[in-house]
Amino acid sequence: MNFAHLHLLLNHFPIIGTIVGLGLFLISLMGQKNDDLRRAGLITFAAMALVAILAFFSGVGADGAIRKSPGVSEDLIVRHQGAAMLALLFMEITGAFSLVALWKSQKRLHPSPWNWGLSAVLLFSFITVGLMARVGTTGGDIRHPEIGTGQEQADVSGISKIVHVFEPSPDKFAELMTASKWWWAFMMDLHFVGLALLIGTVGFLNLRVLGFAKQVPVAPLHEFVPWAMVGFGLNLVTGVLAFTGMAAYYTYDWAFWLKMLVIMLLGLNVAAFYLTGAFESVADLGPGENAPPLAKFIAGTSMVLWFLVITLGRYIQSFSDTISVHK
């Protein structure tokens, strides 16, 4: 297993996943409105937004693995990277709006007739599907001569010419991120602010479910979840920007990849909380009432995993250069 493997393993998910998500979403809007199908579509988008980050991160190592091989064009790799950056941006926006729409569609919130989140998801998921297709195509061009036109240079005609205008140059973007140490310091500052916001809000909810401060009813505490998402969003943005600034530094670092793995596990944990009935079992808990074991288990897991994320994040610096494949 090397980064080229990992990249191939991960990169199909966001391309196909967004198509599946869009399919579910479109069907749910047609005819009789189907709430479950719509939720499935939105959850798919959110999950793909998370996986797409891993696919994006693994690309740098894949690049390192093949860049020096004969017949591999650096031009094509750079074009693919630029396409991936633009697609990732739209994927994350789609994921964020999906979470907004999911939040607003909660029955207990008395949903408004016009859920603007849904319109935003529709618009951005369409664009994302298109951009993801381009990422796949430009990626395939790098290593699949049997389907390509044998091109060595990036194709700049037709619609790809228009899209290409919006695609950042990976090298210039990295330079921009690292040009000023004050910009870097600012990003890291926000990363810690996001951490405090996330741990404060999610941590309190978890502790309550586990039995701390039982006088607090759970339903109003759950209103902190959007603030947790703001904290997570802040850290996702600053984290991805930091990665693009020093991609090789993070790529060859065990602590970084373990941190990403644990964040994915936390995604599963959130899914378990909302989809197994654990949330329903605690949503109406009043003062002094006890949460059932499943909800406590999920809350405890969340607590442990978040502190593990902090731990692994803290050890990134001391684990730099611990992965030595194809450096």
């Binding site: 890291m188 405090a196 309190f204 401060a213 006088q215 607090v216 109003p220 505490l221 603030w227 902090i310």
Partner: protein, 168 residues
């Protein structure tokens, strides 16, 4: 002008040298890790109380939030302790940096604000929820600002120092 000599004396002690130079994962980065845990507890708990006082998640009754102050103090104790070790590891780097004194001043203010909040909002029996919010709103805004400033000043320590170790 050379930095005061006692900085070099601290730096030459076994503890300081070990913290700084040991390859063990339980040396410097371990202390730094617990400093971050402490930050999460201290600032995280403060944020939640401040946001509630400013009207977010209004359904949460205010009185039981008093229990969060215990978590704040656990976080503070963790960070005061680990902070001492971080200074021992890099005394010259830290104590010759103006930002370090700024950070200490901000934290002193923030902790003072935290205690004022506890005394005037949570320790006053007989206050209605509205009364607590009216009293706490201004303090909560100060608290949010000061903790943000404290994190910022702390982060800046990594970018503003003049010496890493005592200049030879």
């Amino acid at each position: 002008m050379a930095p005061p000599l006692f900085l070099q004396t601290i730096e030459d002690t076994g503890l300081s040298t070990w913290l700084r130079e040991s390859e063990s994962p339980f040396a410097f980065y371990f202390i730094l890790l617990f400093h971050t845990f402490g930050l999460a507890l201290l600032v995280g708990a403060n944020l939640v109380v401040d946001l509630r006082l400013l009207g977010i998640a209004r359904g949460i009754p205010l009185a039981p939030l008093k229990r969060l102050f215990r978590i704040m103090w656990i976080g503070f104790a963790t960070n005061a302790t680990t902070g001492v070790f971080l200074v021992i590891a890099y005394p010259t780097k830290t104590l010759t940096n103006w930002d370090f004194y700024l950070k200490m001043a901000i934290i002193a203010l923030a902790v003072w604000m935290m205690q004022r909040l506890k005394n005037s909002v949570f320790n006053e029996s007989g206050l209605s929820e509205e009364g607590m919010m009216a009293r706490g709103a201004a303090l909560a805004k100060w608290s949010l600002f000061l903790w943000f400033a404290a994190i910022t000043a702390g982060r800046l320590l990594a970018y503003t120092y003049k010496y890493l170790t005592y200049p030879s």
